[in-house]
């Protein structure tokens, strides 16, 4: 789990955006810009999707990304590849050390399966993704692919098991991504209350952008 701190200073960033607990965010990043996702209070899961701004049908591809790096976890040095085979962003700094890309996003429907039928009406990441996408107009349900869960710890065992562990993140930990193309960044700051992905206590995250 490489820990690679950033040399960027918050005073030099061009924007700071707070994403309150449980809310969506849809922003854009230009090629060459760097995005820091900051886990303000620790243990938060930040569910994130990336799309090419020039062609939103081009998007982050989990299986290609994992295959090309020969590794199941994301951290500093990981390149995020698109479904068309292009590098979209690179993780250039990371003080958390490991991020999940297999666990997907919570949804009303998957909550009924995972927890109980009566959990259907709890707030979810899928609802956030859809709300932001349909207001924006460039994205629809078909575009909602399989996301990255920044700061989430989902170890794979030698026996092929998949476990959800208490977060390895903490207050003030961050991940930084350098954009190789103009991208749409779609985030659900996870509202999940049923598992330890965010310590059963969703908290705000912050986005900082540098030119």
């Amino acid at each position: 789990m490489p820990i690679v701190p950033s040399d960027k200073h918050p005073e030099a960033c061009i924007s700071r955006t707070l994403i309150p607990a449980g809310e969506p965010s849809l922003t854009e990043l230009k090629a060459g810009q760097t995005l820091r996702i900051l886990d303000l209070e620790g243990n938060q899961a930040v569910d994130t999707l990336f799309f090419s701004a020039a062609n939103p049908r081009e998007r982050y591809d989990v299986q290609r990304t994992l295959r090309k790096q020969g590794q199941v976890y994301l951290s500093a040095g990981s390149v995020l590849w698109s479904n068309l085979g292009n590098p979209m962003l690179s993780i250039v700094a990371d003080t958390c050390g490991r991020h999940d890309t297999l666990g997907g996003a919570c949804a009303q429907e998957s909550n009924t399966v995972r927890y109980a039928l009566d959990k259907r009406y709890m707030h979810s990441c899928r609802d956030n993704f859809l709300r932001a996408s349909l207001h924006d107009g460039r994205l629809s349900k078909a575009d909602i692919g399989h996301n990255i869960n920044f700061f989430m710890n989902v170890p794979v065992t030698a026996e092929g098991g998949l476990t959800f562990e208490d977060g390895i993140s903490g207050a003030g930990k961050y991940v930084e991504l350098l954009a190789h193309m103009d991208v749409i960044v779609l985030i659900s700051n996870c509202p999940q209350l049923n598992n330890p992905c965010n310590g059963w206590n969703p908290t705000p995250a912050e986005l900082l952008v540098w030119n």
Binding site: R57, R59, D61, V62, Q63, R64, L66, R67, G70, Q71, V72, Y73, N83, L84, G85, R98, L102, G103, G104, A105, A107, Q108, E109, S110, T112, V113, R114, A116, L117, R126, K141, A142, D143, G145, H146, V154, V156, T157, A158, E159, G160, G161, L162, T163, F164
Partner: protein
């Protein structure tokens, strides 16, 4: 299990081939690795509402597994069971590797054009799946994570991958039971991490069977409490 079964149809998808069909509610599809070392890349959709599609992250996390085998369910994004793995002689099917696109196939195997090789040309999983999806009016956006039947990719303590050669032998099979009408899209191509430098995809046998009752799915329904709720959600389609 000795359920009453009627074989409806059998066919072989040659190495490099692709196909798609609706596996009807209550039917069973047996896929057979005829020669050993085969791989079938598979996508699943709700045949009646194709925006509902296989969601591997949901399938993996609700069953706490990255390997798929008998007793596991394959879930849609709507919390329903598109297919249940009711039998498996192989023991491990991969959910990590995905499929290669045309550029990646050329990089791995070299150029293999139709112009020189005719129907032996080098195909790729992304295009094969997209072609079949296009026949049902689906789009690039619907090509998400696929599962690779008959292949195994191990993950070590550091998270690194290792492709397991010899995971599937000649005659190994896996059975998918459909508790709803499920559109199956598949292609028979080598797994992307298969270290064999030669383009040499293997044929996959397909057998459709009608089973007398849904008792065949008991193993999957009861293997985890999550799956009982997944079948409950699926059955609500038919009230």
């Amino acid at each position: 299990m000795n359920e009453l079964r009627t074989t409806l149809y059998e066919t072989i998808v040659p190495g490099g081939g692709h196909t798609s069909f609706v596996l009807k509610r209550g039917q069973l599809l047996r896929l057979t690795d005829l020669e050993g070392g085969g791989n079938a890349s598979v996508l699943l959709f709700n045949a009646a509402e194709k925006s509902e599609r296989l969601n591997l992250p949901d399938s993996l996390k609700c069953q706490h597994t990255v390997k798929l085998t008998a007793g596991h369910c394959l879930y849609s994004d709507m919390g329903r069971v598109l297919a249940a793995i009711t039998a498996d002689s192989c023991g491990w099917h991969d959910s990590l590797g995905g499929v290669l696109n045309a550029a990646e196939v050329q990089e791995k195997y070299g150029q293999g054009r139709y112009q020189e090789l005719r129907n032996g040309f080098f195909r790729n999983g992304a295009d094969n799946l997209l072609v079949e999806m296009g026949k049902w009016d689906m789009r690039l956006q619907d090509l998400l994570m696929c599962l690779n039947l008959f292949s195994r990719v191990d993950v070590d303590a550091d998270g690194c991958f290792r492709f397991a050669t010899g995971n599937s032998r000649a005659g190994d099979y896996v059975e998918l039971y459909a508790p709803m009408d499920t559109l199956v899209v598949l292609t028979a191509l080598q797994h992307p991490m298969d270290p064999n430098p030669q383009y040499a995809p293997k044929p996959i046998g397909l057998t459709w069977q009608q089973v007398a009752s849904d008792g065949i799915s008991v193993l999957c329904r009861t293997s985890r409490p999550e799956n009982g709720r997944g079948f409950h959600n699926t059955e609500r389609l038919f009230i």
